[in-house]
């Protein structure tokens, strides 16, 4: 699981152009939206595309996304449970 969280951090930094951050700066339980990383709605769409492209997971229910994208850890848990 730790490998997956590290991989996710690297992907998120690259995909969302978080230039000032490194993998070491991201905590597994930091909120991705709001007061945490401060991601926006376009970033959320980008994360949905990333789940599909990198892990073969299609997220069709927006309500589900709210929980899945809460933190790196919740994303990793969701991927572990649903990856194809």
């Amino acid at each position: 699981m730790s490998e997956l969280t590290q991989e996710l951090k690297a992907k998120i930094i690259a995909q969302l152009n978080l230039e000032d951050l490194t993998v070491a700066d991201l905590d597994d339980n930091t909120p991705l939206f709001g007061d945490g990383l401060g991601l926006d709605s376009i970033d959320a769409l980008e994360l949905i595309v990333m789940l599909d492209k990198s892990y073969g997971i299609k997220l069709s229910d927006p309500k589900e996304g709210r929980k899945v994208f809460e933190t790196i850890q919740t994303m990793a848990d969701f991927i572990e449970a649903n990856r194809t």
């Binding site: 230039e19 980008e46 492209k53």
Partner: protein, 208 residues
């Protein structure tokens, strides 16, 4: 009879790998420096904290940097500062990237972060957010820099403002590796008259 008495309060050019403000160099780099890296260097030199900069496309980044530098000379923009921009290639950089993503043979995918920049007026939205502008804006696509159109258009826009006339105008042509940008702020004070002749001279002088 000249009815307008608007002045250029500050201007910025980004050409090749040089950024100049009011004719004075802010940043220069080797011509082989990739445009993206050069704009990132400029952002770092501005010493501001605005992480969203890194998400922008090249057009937005260049306009963002120029408007930051002009504000340092002309003062904080008034909320009604009109935006009147023009270029030749529209949002070409993002358009090409988006086309590449969706037409690729292997794993075609539309990236929202790219797609969102496939209109040139997004750049005006970005700087309106940054400088809290609630104003008129327009982005023209022309074959070339055309002060013969921009000057009377800006004058008409400024004439319609109630007081403290203020506008940001100019030419913002960005392609994958090249930048040809002249942005200027127009107000009611400043040493240079807002005129076609002056803006032609400015564009050509700064190109030398």
């Amino acid at each position: 009879m000249e009815l307008h008495n608007y002045r250029i309060t500050a201007f910025c050019t980004i050409r090749g790998r040089s950024i100049r403000v009011n004719g004075k160099e802010f940043l220069g780099a080797d011509p082989s420096t990739p445009l993206g890296d050069f704009l990132k260097l400029a952002y770092r030199k501005l010493a501001i904290d605005y992480p969203k900069f890194h998400k922008m496309d090249g057009l937005c980044k260049a306009i963002f940097i120029a408007t930051e530098l002009i504000a340092r000379e002309s003062g904080r923009y008034k909320h009604h500062t009109a935006l009147i921009f023009a270029n030749r290639s529209s949002s070409y950089i993002s358009d090409a990237r988006h086309a590449h993503d969706i037409f690729r043979a292997d794993n075609p995918v539309a990236s929202p972060a790219t797609f969102v920049y496939t209109l040139p007026n997004i750049a005006m939205g970005e700087i309106s957010i940054r400088h809290q502008l609630q104003s008129e804006n327009v982005f023209f696509i022309f074959d070339r820099y055309l002060p013969e159109f921009l000057v009377p258009y800006a004058n008409a826009t400024l004439d319609n403002q109630q007081a403290d006339a203020s506008a940001l105008c100019g030419w913002t042509e960005i392609t994958e590796g090249q930048c040809d940008l002249l942005l200027y702020h127009i107000g009611t004070s400043g040493s240079q008259t807002h005129s076609i002749e002056y803006l032609k001279r400015l564009y050509n002088e700064e190109d030398e």
